[in-house]
Amino acid sequence: MTSMELLLWARGPGLQIATAVLLLGLVFRLLEIYTPGRKPDLSEARASGMGPGVRTIFSRSVPLKGMWTKEISGYTFHIGFLVVLLFFVPHILLFKDTFGFGWPGISNSMIDFITVLTLAALAYTLFTRITDPVRRFLSTFGDYLALLLTALPLITGYMAFHRLGLPYTQMLAIHILSVEALMIFLPFTKLVHAVTILGSRWYNGAISGRKGVQS
């Protein structure tokens, strides 16, 4: 298989397989998690849990005072990753090719800067995983795997854009494959929190909310 063939496979069947695994995997996981449900609460609610549940989905993104320093790298890499994914012009074009519509991107130099910043934040997150006593104590293989799967598309994308390491076609193919790895692993690893965070925050907010406490 030549580099071009690999690239074509990655952009074609590879992407289709990854998308299918991502979507079916997520449906499977979400059914597995959310179909048991929970017992109805017979105690008399002080207020509806619905509103506070939805509110907690958003409010939990704001850290408590004094916790900013601990979360700054987390914020940076989450936001940075999304910005690079959604606003790099070639990414938007790929989306437009498939779905027929797109949106304005941001300049390559800006994307370049954000990529470096995001990678630095991921590196710092890895550093704290190893050095912070609590994080080191808690960390499992899955935590490091999630970091690696998140970092690879950024690293390979950066290298392809700057023509570093391998020839461009080959690097681009590897970049796309790394994204597909992320998609395939997402439902079955810690990365699934990207979706279940909505359910967890809602439960938390609703459990507290029906007692009259905004959590």
């Binding site: 449900g37 105690s43 939990r60 993104s61 808690l138 439960y203 406490v213």
Partner: protein, 428 residues
């Protein structure tokens, strides 16, 4: 596998629902919950990280409720939960967790870790891994009706004392009264002034109320040890008493876990909604204040602060009432840093106070509360939970701090405006 272990695992499996599955799926091991837990902040030992206290339950969930986990179990490559492991976790699940709920408020992915610990205890108690002190307290509650071994005779003696002191009748077993007052063990045993206090307040406010000789003890060790059956039995006695007297409301006492047990867990424990409403004493007092039926005079001069009982405030939703009431009688009320729903636990909730083995750890982590109190410069701490009150007294004494601890209801009673008629000729 021993029978008790098998039963414990089954109990854990039964406890796992969608919130639990969602919470375990969402955890990214960020460790933020450690910073929310006084057992970690005061010891810096990572084993006290709240989510770590659930590791055996996480594996049960993974091995029983996820595809990959079940596959791993079939292939014999997953690590089963063992008796030795649960034994090791007993300290983490009971001694170093007060069910205070602070971690649940901090977790960035939204995990209600306290909800999880409460459920994990169900499995722990069935598998025979619960602390001796808490087990004995629960046994006393089931056998004698009180974890501290309080009997009706003790209550009657305190009631007599209160009647003598106030010159009023303390209503007992009055069928058709509007409110039935429930007390906590510690109130009957140590802080019995509460009986006289509510008697005077209710007399002035014209509240129709009663005590019930068959249901006067609200402390629920069952929810602390984590046994839905025992907790249900204890709540059931209160429900039976309230139904017998046909009251409209049951008043939950100044006791955090009694409130959680009666107000939030109770109907689920007995499997049906109540035919009456549960109201916390502070909620009722605030209602009376708003209606102009609770009037006070004079204010405390010294600097006061309020200790928020976790189960009442963060886990209970009675947040503004104590502040509004305290402001009636305090001229220098200062809040602690991290007050209200973010307050730090006294260290003795969730059954820790009944678990003597945990005393050294509890007193060590009291440093968090001590700092909070020191920052306010207050000379009196007001609270609304007799267990918190005991824990604060113990912690203050341990740290040689000369600070008074009082219950809010009693403080209000001291400032009560009484009617023209002298109380002594009141109801008698």
């Amino acid at each position: 596998m021993s029978t008790s272990l098998a039963r414990g695992i089954t109990a854990l499996k039964e406890q796992i629902d969608s919130p639990i599955a969602s919470f375990f799926s969402s955890c990214v091991h960020c460790g933020m919950c450690a910073d929310a837990c006084l057992f970690y902040t005061e010891t810096k030992d990572p084993k006290y990280t709240p989510i770590h206290k659930l590791e055996p339950m996480r594996r049960v969930w993974q091995q029983e409720y996820t595809f990959w986990g079940r596959l791993g179990k079939k292939l014999g490559i997953s690590k089963p939960v063992t008796d030795a492991e649960l034994s090791e976790w007993e300290e983490l699940v009971y001694d170093s967790c007060t069910l205070c709920g602070r971690c649940s408020l901090v977790c960035p992915v939204g995990n209600d870790i306290t909800y999880m610990i409460r459920k994990m205890r169900e499995g722990m108690v069935v598998s025979g891994h619960s602390p001796k002190g808490l087990r004995e307290a629960t046994q006393r509650a089931i056998e004698f009706g009180s974890p501290m071994g309080i009997t009706l005779q003790t209550l009657q003696a305190q009631v007599k004392h209160a009647e003598k002191e106030t010159g009023l009748t303390v209503p007992m077993d009055v069928t058709g009264a509007e409110y039935m007052m429930v007390l906590s063990s510690a109130e009957i045993a140590q802080f019995s002034e509460i009986i006289g206090a509510v008697t005077r307040i209710f007399h002035e406010a014209g509240v129709s109320w009663t005590l019930c000789s068959e249901a006067f003890e609200g402390t629920n060790s069952g929810i602390q040890i984590g046994s839905k059956d025992l907790a249900g039995e204890l709540v059931g006695r209160l429900v039976a008493g309230a139904e017998k007297l046909k009251v409209k409301y049951v008043i939950s006492p100044e006791c955090g876990h009694a409130y959680t047990a009666l107000r939030w867990e109770g109907p689920n424990l007995i499997g049906r909604p109540y035919p009456f409403k549960v109201i916390h004493i502070l909620e009722l007092l605030e209602q009376l204040r708003k209606e102009g039926r609770l009037r006070t005079e004079g204010k405390e001069e010294e600097r006061l602060t309020f200790h928020d009982p976790c189960q009442l405030v963060r886990r209970g939703g009675v947040i503004e009432e104590p502040r509004s009431l305290l402001n009636m009688v305090a001229s220098d009320f200062v809040e602690m840093n991290d007050h209200g729903k973010l307050n730090w636990c006294c260290g003795g909730g969730g059954g820790v106070s009944a678990n003597e083995r945990a005393d050294p750890l509890r007193l060590k982590v009291f440093s968090r509360k001590k700092n909070q109190i020191d920052e306010t410069g207050a000379t009196t701490i007001v609270t609304a939970c007799s267990n918190c009150r005991n824990m604060l007294l113990d912690g203050l004494e341990h740290n040689n701090m000369d600070i008074e601890v009082v219950g809010l209801t009693e403080m209000l009673a001291e400032h009560l405006v009484t009617r023209q008629t002298p109380a002594t000729t009141g109801d008698k």
